[in-house]
Amino acid sequence: MTTLDPPVRKRSGMPTKTNGPSPVDLREGDRNPGIPLDLEWVRRIGVNRSAVERRAAALGARRSVKKEWQAAWLLKSITLMDLTTLAGDDTPARVRRLCAKARQPLRRDLLEALGMSPGQIRVGAVCVYHQMVDTAVRALDGSGIPVAAVSTGFPHGLSPLSTRLAEIRASVDAGAEEIDIVITRGNALNGDWNALYDEIAAFREACGAAHLKTILATGELGTLRNVARASLVCMMAGADFVKTSTGKEGVNATLPVGLTMTRAVRAYAERTGYAVGFKPAGGIRMAKEALLWLILMKEELGTAWMQPELFRFGVSSMLGDVERQLEHHVTGRYSATHRHPMA
C-alpha cells in the first residue's frame, strides 16, 4: 500500500512560475504592487486564537518527514535561510566570515554524499545592518546571493520618518537588494491602519527595485487578530514579504503567529492574485524547527511557498544544527559542531 501525496493545489490567479526555481523571473514579473487600503476587509478578518493554536500544535503531530525526505527538506531549508548577524559588535571581518559560509553552507563531501551539486545549495540571503551592507555585497560578489539590510530604525522603528526613508535609500544605494523594515507597532496597536498603510507605502517607494520585507514584531502586537490585520495592511501597501520578528522582542516567531500570517498571505493571494512571501525570524535554531515551519508552509500554502522567492528563515545559528543532522544522515553517526566550518 502506498501513501498518497496529494497534488499541488492550483489557485486561480496565482503566478505559476513560483512553482519553479526561477527567482529572477518572479522578482521582475510578479511583484506585489499593493492595492488600495481595504479597511472593511482589515476589520472583518477574524482569528480564533484557541483554534489556531490547536491547528499549530497538530501540524507537527500530523506530519513527519523521515530519511531521504528529511535530508532533502533540510537541504532545502538551507536555501531558504537569511543568514543573519545583527549584533552591536559586528565587524567587517565577522561579516566576511558569514558571507563565506553563505557561499558554501555545507561541506563539499556531505553535498556529494547527498547527491547534490555544489551550485545547488546556497543560502537565501545574508542579512546585516546598513553599515555592513557594503562589506557583504563585496564578499558575496558573483555568488548571486542577495544582501538584505535591516532598516528604518531597526529594531524599534521609532526614528523620524525622514531618517527611516533615508536609511532605506542609503542601503539600496549601497547594494542591498532586500530591505527588512520594522513597522510602527503603535499604529497596529491603536488600529491606525491608515497610518500603517501610508508608512509602508512610503517605504516601498523608497525601496525602488529592492524587495521590501515588513517586520511586524508580532511579540509586541498583543493579539493574533492584530497580527492578521497588520499582515494584511502591509501586503496592501506593497510588501514583498511579511516577517514575524526582529529577533529582539521577548517572543519571536511562534507557530500560531506563523499560521496566522500564512493564512493572511493566502487570503491576499486568493483575493488579488499576488504572491507575498513569509519570513519567520527569531529563536529558530534547530533542524527540527525548520522541518516544522516547512510543514506549515506546505500545508497552508503548498510547495510553491517553499521556495526562496516566497519563504525565508531569519536565522543565525540554525545552519549548524542542519549541518549536523545532514552529516548524521550520511554517516549514521551523530555529529559534532566542530566538524563543520563556522559562520
Binding site: 501525496d5 496529494p6 484557541s50 483554534a51 531521504e68 525526505w69 532533502a72 503548498g302
Partner: protein, 796 residues
C-alpha cells in the same frame, strides 16, 4: 538525479511508518488466537467457536477471536459477582490504588496499545497515539480520584453491583475506559463485551489488569458478536447495562431489559450540527471540519456531519473546504503522516457507499478530492455533499463515515431550527467570534455537548452523552458517576403492594333531602379546565367506602392535547429565570396553605387518618418550599478540563415530562412529582394516583391562583392502563416518571423506545414520600434535568 535531489525539487512527504514489530510480537506470543478473560485468567482459544479479526488497511486477518456463548457470559457474570464484595470492601483508597496502577500501566504500554489499536481498527496512528490512548490513561487517573473521594462526594450511595458493558468498534480502548473506569471507581465489577471487529486491545488491557494486580473477576472480557452481547443483556445476574453504539441496537437493549430492574445507560447515534456564522474565523472552521468529520474517518458518534453555514459565507467556506480536502492524506494508518486511515469493515464501507449513492440519486452534489483512495484495504475518501435539503437522506441518516453535508441558513433562529431538526441530540459545534451569539445559541441546541469554536474535544472531567434518541446517561465528570451508584435506602426497600382494583363505592346520601352540589371536575390542560374527550367519569371512593366525588376519565386524545399544550410553552418556561420559577413555587405553597384544612380533610377522607392527613398537607407545603429554594440553587459545574477553556456543565430541563404519581401519598406524591419538574424548567403532564386523583383536581384552583402559566402543568385523571401507555409511547414526550407497580414500570420502559425517552421508574420499590432523601431533593433534581457540557475556549 539522486533520490534526494529529486525530493529536493518535489518536496514530497515520503513514508513515515510506525513499526508494528512489538504488536506483532505480542500477537505471535499468543499464537494469534485468543480466548476470553474470566475471573482473572484467559480461557483457551477455540477454533470451532472463533472468528477472525482483520486489519482494515489490508483486509488481512490478524488473529482469531473467540465467539462468546451464553455459558461464557454466565461464567464471567459469576466471576464478577464473586469478586464484587471484595472489591467494594477494599474501600475508596484501595480501589483508587488499583485504578492508579491501571493508569500507570496504560502510560507504560501506551505505544503498544496505540499500534495494536490502529492495526485492528484502521484509525491513523496519530490519533490512537496522541488522542485515544492518552485519553484512556487520563480517564483512569481521573476516576482513581473519584474512587478516593466517593464517600465524601456521594454520601448515601453504594455500587450497583455487576455491570455489563458493551462497547463499539470506533474507539475500542477509549470506550473501554469510559465504561470501566467509572464503574470500578464506584465499587462495581464488570463484564465487558468489546465489538467483534476490534477486540484485541481489550484483551491486551486484560493482561494489563493481571500485571497491575487487579483482583481476579473485577474486570472480565467476553468477546463475540451481537449474540454474545444479547446474552450479557439477558443475564439475570447483571444489575446494570451500559451500551455505546447505534440507536437501533440501543432500542433492542431497552426493550430487552424493560421491567428487569436492570439500570441502563445508552450512548447512541448522532447527526450533529456544525454551525458556522458569518463572522467565524473560516480558516479555523475548515480545520474544525477536518476534526469533526474526517477524524477517525467520520466513524464518530458525535461527528459534525451537518455543516450549517450562514448564506453569505457559504460559497467561500465550500471553496476553502475543497482546497483543504485536496491536501488530506489517506493511506496506511500506521504512517505517522496520514490524516485518514481505513473504514473498519467491508460492511461499513458498503453502507457508506450505498448511502452516498442514495443521496446522489436524490440530487445531492457529491464532491471528493482529485486524489484516489488506496485500492487495497477498506478506504473511503473524504466527501462533501451540497445541494442537500433537510429532508434528504444524507441530512437525516447517520452515515458513520467521512461524509459531510452542507446546508445554509439566514438567521441565528433558523440555524437553531435546522440544528434541532433531527431525532438525535448528541453534540453540536458553533463557530463565531461573537460570544453573545455563541452563548445564546448553545443552550438552544438540543445536544449533550456543545463545542464553541472547537469540536470533538473530550476529557474525563466532562460528561458526555446525549439528548433525545442519542441516549441517556453521561460518561465522565461527576455527572457520569450517578450511572454507577445506587442509593443505600433502595437496597432494603420493600416492594410496594400491587394497586388494588377500583372499588364501587356507595353513593353519597342527600343531606336533608337536598342533593349536594355536584363538583365533577374536568381535566386540566393548557391552563384551562377541559371536559374529558370521552365524557366519562370515574368515582373516587373514600376510606369509608363512600363515593367522594368523580373525576374525569381522560383518554388518548386528552393525552395528545395535554402534551401539545406542554410542548407549546416548554421553551418559554425553561427560559424563564430560576428566580421567577421559584416565586411561582412559593406562591403555590402560599395558596395551598390558605386551603390547608380543606386539603387535609380530603386526604383524610381518602386515607382515614386525620392526623396523618394534616401532616401530609404540611409536608406538601414544605416540599413546594424546598423546590422553590432549589430552583435557583441546583447549579451546574465548571469542569477542570485540561485545555484553556471553561467547560460549563449546565443542568437543563428534559423538556416535556410525563409523571405518573404514586398511590401512597395522594397529595404529597403528586406535589413531589410536580414541583421538581417545573422548578427545573420542564413542563409536565401529570397522571395523579388512580384512586386519589380527586386531590389533584382540588389543586386546579391552587394552580390557577398562583400565576402558573397555562400549559406548564397539565393534569389528566383517569385509569392508568388507559393513559400511561399513550404517554409512554408518545414521541413528543421527552421523559417519563413512573411511581407505580413493577408491571407498569416494565410497560413504560418497553414503550419508551419509540423516541428513546428517558424513564425513571423504581420498579415498584416502596418510597417513603415523607423522607427527605427518598421523597425530595437531589435525586429528583437529577432526574428532572439533563447535563449539557458547553466547551468555551478563550484567548485573544
Amino acid at each position: 538525479m539522486s533520490k534526494i535531489s529529486e525530493i529536493f525539487e518535489t518536496l514530497e512527504y515520503g513514508p513515515a511508518p510506525e513499526s508494528a514489530a512489538l504488536a506483532d510480537e505480542w500477537l505471535d506470543a499468543h499464537e494469534r488466537a485468543f480466548g476470553h478473560f474470566i475471573g482473572g485468567v484467559f480461557t483457551e482459544s477455540n477454533e470451532a467457536q472463533a472468528f477472525q479479526t482483520a486489519n482494515p488497511a489490508t483486509g488481512e486477518p490478524i488473529a482469531s477471536i473467540r465467539q462468546g456463548t451464553a455459558d461464557d457470559v454466565d461464567g464471567a457474570v459469576s466471576a464478577a459477582r464473586a469478586a464484587h464484595e471484595g472489591w467494594w470492601a477494599l474501600g475508596p483508597h484501595g480501589r483508587a490504588r488499583h485504578m492508579y496502577a491501571l493508569a500507570r500501566g496504560m502510560q507504560k504500554h501506551g505505544r503498544l496499545f496505540a499500534v495494536l489499536e490502529t492495526m485492528d481498527n484502521g484509525k491513523p496512528i496519530r490519533e490512537s497515539r496522541d488522542l485515544d490512548i492518552p485519553l484512556v490513561a487520563r480517564h483512569f487517573y481521573h476516576h482513581a480520584g473519584w474512587a478516593q473521594l466517593m464517600e465524601e462526594e456521594l454520601p448515601g450511595y453504594g455500587p450497583v453491583g455487576v455491570v455489563g458493558q458493551i462497547i463499539p468498534w470506533n474507539f475500542p480502548m477509549l470506550m473501554l475506559a469510559w465504561k470501566i473506569a467509572p464503574a470500578l471507581a464506584m465499587g462495581n465489577t464488570v463484564v465487558l463485551k468489546p465489538a467483534e471487529f476490534t477486540s484485541l486491545t481489550a484483551l491486551l488491557f486484560a493482561e494489563l489488569c493481571v500485571e497491575a494486580g487487579l483482583p481476579a473477576g473485577v474486570v472480565n472480557v467476553v468477546t463475540g458478536d451481537g449474540a454474545t452481547g444479547a446474552a450479557l443483556v439477558a443475564h439475570p445476574g447483571v444489575d446494570k447495562i451500559t451500551f455505546t453504539g447505534s440507536t437501533d441496537v440501543g432500542r433492542i437493549i431497552r426493550e430487552a431489559t424493560a421491567g428487569s430492574g436492570k439500570r441502563l445507560s445508552l450512548e447512541l447515534g448522532g447527526k450533529s450540527p456544525f454551525i458556522v456564522f458569518d463572522d467565524a474565523d473560516l480558516d479555523s472552521v475548515v480545520e474544525g471540519v477536518v476534526d469533526a468529520i474526517w477524524f477517525n474517518q467520520g466513524q464518530v458518534c458525535c461527528a459534525g456531519s451537518r455543516i450549517l453555514v450562514q448564506e453569505g459565507v457559504s460559497a467561500e467556506l465550500e471553496r476553502k473546504l475543497r482546497a483543504r480536502m485536496e491536501t488530506l492524506r489517506m493511506g496506511d494508518p500506521l504512517d505517522k503522516a496520514v490524516d485518514m486511515g481505513a473504514i473498519v469493515a467491508p460492511v461499513q464501507l458498503e453502507r457508506i457507499q450505498e448511502l452516498v449513492e442514495e443521496g446522489r440519486s436524490e440530487g445531492a452534489e457529491v464532491w471528493q478530492p482529485s486524489w484516489s483512495a488506496p485500492k487495497e484495504g477498506w478506504f473511503y475518501p473524504p466527501t462533501l455533499c451540497t445541494n442537500v435539503e433537510p429532508s434528504g437522506t444524507l441530512a437525516q441518516v447517520e452515515i458513520f463515515g467521512p461524509v459531510v453535508v452542507m446546508m445554509s441558513f439566514r438567521t441565528p433562529s433558523e440555524a437553531v431550527a435546522l440544528a434541532n431538526d433531527t431525532r438525535y441530540g448528541l453534540a453540536a459545534s458553533i463557530w463565531s467570534e461573537n460570544v453573545n451569539l455563541t452563548l445564546d445559541v448553545a443552550p438552544k441546541v438540543k445536544a449533550g455537548t456543545v463545542w464553541i469554536n472547537c469540536t470533538n474535544l473530550f476529557d474525563a472531567a466532562s460528561g458526555f452523552g446525549g439528548y433525545r434518541e442519542s441516549g441517556y446517561g453521561r460518561e465522565g465528570g461527576k455527572e457520569g458517576l450517578w450511572e454507577y451508584v445506587r442509593a443505600d435506602w433502595e437496597v432494603d426497600a420493600p416492594q410496594e403492594p400491587v394497586s388494588p382494583p377500583p372499588v364501587q363505592g356507595e353513593a353519597r346520601t342527600a343531606v336533608e333531602g337536598v342533593p349536594p352540589i355536584d363538583r365533577t371536575p374536568k381535566l386540566y390542560i393548557g391552563g384551562k379546565q377541559a371536559r374529558p374527550d370521552g365524557n366519562y367519569s370515574l368515582p373516587q371512593v373514600g376510606v369509608d367506602g363512600v363515593v367522594l366525588g368523580e373525576v374525569g376519565r381522560g383518554n388518548r386524545k386528552d393525552v395528545r392535547n395535554a402534551v401539545e399544550a406542554a410542548r407549546k410553552v416548554q421553551a418559554g418556561w425553561g427560559a424563564r429565570t430560576a428566580h421567577n420559577r421559584a416565586q411561582i413555587l412559593y406562591y403555590l405553597a402560599e395558596n395551598l396553605s390558605i386551603r390547608q384544612a380543606e386539603f387535609a380533610s380530603r386526604v383524610a377522607d381518602l386515607r382515614g387518618d386525620q392526623a396523618a392527613a394534616g401532616l401530609e398537607v404540611e409536608a406538601s407545603i414544605a416540599r413546594l418550599f424546598a423546590y422553590g429554594a432549589w430552583a435557583d440553587k441546583w447549579e451546574g459545574r465548571v469542569h477542570h478540563t485540561p485545555f484553556r477553556n471553561v467547560t460549563l456543565a449546565m443542568p437543563e430541563p428534559i423538556g416535556v415530562v410525563a409523571a405518573v404519581c404514586p398511590e401512597a401519598a395522594p397529595l404529597l406524591g403528586f406535589v413531589s412529582c410536580l414541583a421538581p419538574l417545573i422548578a427545573m424548567g420542564n413542563t409536565v403532564v401529570l397522571v395523579p394516583a388512580e384512586h386519589a386523583g380527586i386531590v389533584a383536581t382540588d389543586f386546579y384552583q391552587v394552580l390557577e391562583t398562583s400565576d402558573v402559566p397555562g400549559g406548564v402543568v397539565n393534569i389528566i385523571t383517569g385509569l392508568h392502563d388507559e393513559l400511561v401507555p399513550t404517554l409512554a409511547d408518545h414521541d413528543d414526550v421527552d421523559g417519563c416518571w413512573f411511581f407505580g407497580d413493577s408491571a407498569g414500570a416494565a410497560d413504560v420502559e418497553r414503550r419508551s423506545i419509540g423516541n428513546m425517552k428517558r424513564t425513571w421508574v423504581t420498579h415498584g420499590l416502596t418510597r417513603d414520600w415523607h423522607d427527605r432523601v427518598q421523597g425530595e431533593g437531589a435525586e429528583f433534581l437529577r432526574e428532572a434535568t439533563q447535563i449539557k457540557n458547553i466547551w468555551v475556549p478563550y484567548g485573544e
